[in-house]
């Protein structure tokens, strides 16, 4: 037996592969990835808890540094995008490939896959846009990953009220804040790019049908998970 044949025998055991858990492989792969992503974000949240509660000095009060109303609006955007995503899933499961269609006796038109996916992409892109705007404003006010920039507005506030602005812990606060929200923003950006790709290559050419909409279900799972993580991060980083 040659070496190549022996390798092939090892790669193909005599027992045939099992049918699996009854779901198609894209979906199973996405669930496994999401399970690993749970641990990734837990590691970030765990690090944040250690940093925040481990230091004896005061941490900045909620709303002192961060713009909570703006982020609450962003949370609302992401929740809306999650609903539009699941509406897109329901639309294609019912075979509705169209954008909008008039329904006799109803004032509002019925949305199809093309409409709800577009709404999801727009809401996701707006979320990223608001986050970039928030970062620009924060850095402009002097809140950086290294803490409060010398001579900035926030550094002056911290000098007058060290407890409210967490003057001594600003470096830890800045690094953990930008790491956690930055990684989440990266996830959202990846989701928006993936959905744009699907929109132009699969949704607009009407390649999905009521019989096969695996791509929509798989990207939907990812998108809802990103929303779920933000729900937790918003509470931990902005409200507590």
């Amino acid at each position: 037996m040659t070496h190549a044949t022996a390798t092939a025998d090892v790669m193909h055991p005599p027992v045939p592969a099992e049918p699996g858990s009854g779901v198609y492989s894209n979906k199973l792969g996405m669930w496994v990835f999401l399970a690993s992503d749970v641990m990734f974000f837990t590691a970030l949240i765990g690090s944040y808890i250690i940093l925040r509660f481990g230091v004896p000095e005061a941490w900045a009060a909620p709303g002192a540094v961060l713009n909570v109303p703006l982020t609450a609006f962003n949370t609302f955007l992401l929740i809306c995008s999650s609903v539009s995503m699941v509406k897109a899933y329901a639309a294609i499961a019912d075979g509705k490939k169209y954008f909008l269609r008039a329904v006799p006796g109803k004032l509002l038109r019925d949305g199809g896959l093309k409409f709800w996916m577009l709404v999801t992409i727009i809401c996701g892109a707006m979320f990223v846009g608001v986050q970039v705007f928030e970062y620009i404003k924060l850095i402009g006010h002097g809140f950086t990953p290294a803490g409060f920039r010398e001579g900035s507005t926030l550094a002056e506030h911290a000098a007058t009220d060290a407890v409210r602005y967490g003057a001594t812990t600003a470096g830890l606060y800045g690094s953990s804040f930008f790491t956690m929200t930055g990684f989440h923003g990266f996830h959202v950006t990846c989701g928006v790019v993936s959905m744009l790709y699907l929109y132009f290559t699969k949704v607009l050419p009407e390649k999905y049908s009521a019989q096969d909409y695996r791509g929509i279900e798989t990207i939907g799972l990812y998108w809802h998970f990103v929303d779920l993580v933000w729900i937790i991060l918003f509470t931990i980083v902005y409200l507590i």
Binding site: V38, M39, A43, G46, F53, S82, L221, H224, L228, I240
Partner: protein, 91 residues
């Protein structure tokens, strides 16, 4: 595709999520609840919202138990990790 099931009212879930978010923000900034209780309430509301998303938007409630297990296995590990690092403060 997924197992056939009665489709949940997605708009109602959206209303729940919106109302819970408003309650969270109001509790954090408008109430005078003691800090420890406030943290417990906010975490409870956040977990409630996360469950709504996972169960109804991700259809976890209607999936086979094997698929649920994949997602649920890291949850206890995550809780253990968070509790372990919180003890840093307690001890």
């Amino acid at each position: 595709m997924t197992t056939e099931h009665v489709r949940p009212n997605y708009i109602l879930i959206w209303v729940y999520l919106f109302v819970l978010t408003v309650i969270e923000v109001a509790a954090a900034f408008l109430s005078h609840i003691p800090k420890h209780w406030l943290i417990l309430i906010l975490v409870f509301l956040a977990v409630w919202k996360a469950f709504l998303v996972a169960l109804y938007f991700m259809h976890l409630k209607f999936e086979r138990w094997r698929l649920r297990a994949i997602f649920m296995v890291p949850i206890p590990l995550a809780i253990i990790l968070v509790l372990a690092v919180i003890t840093e403060k307690i001890w």
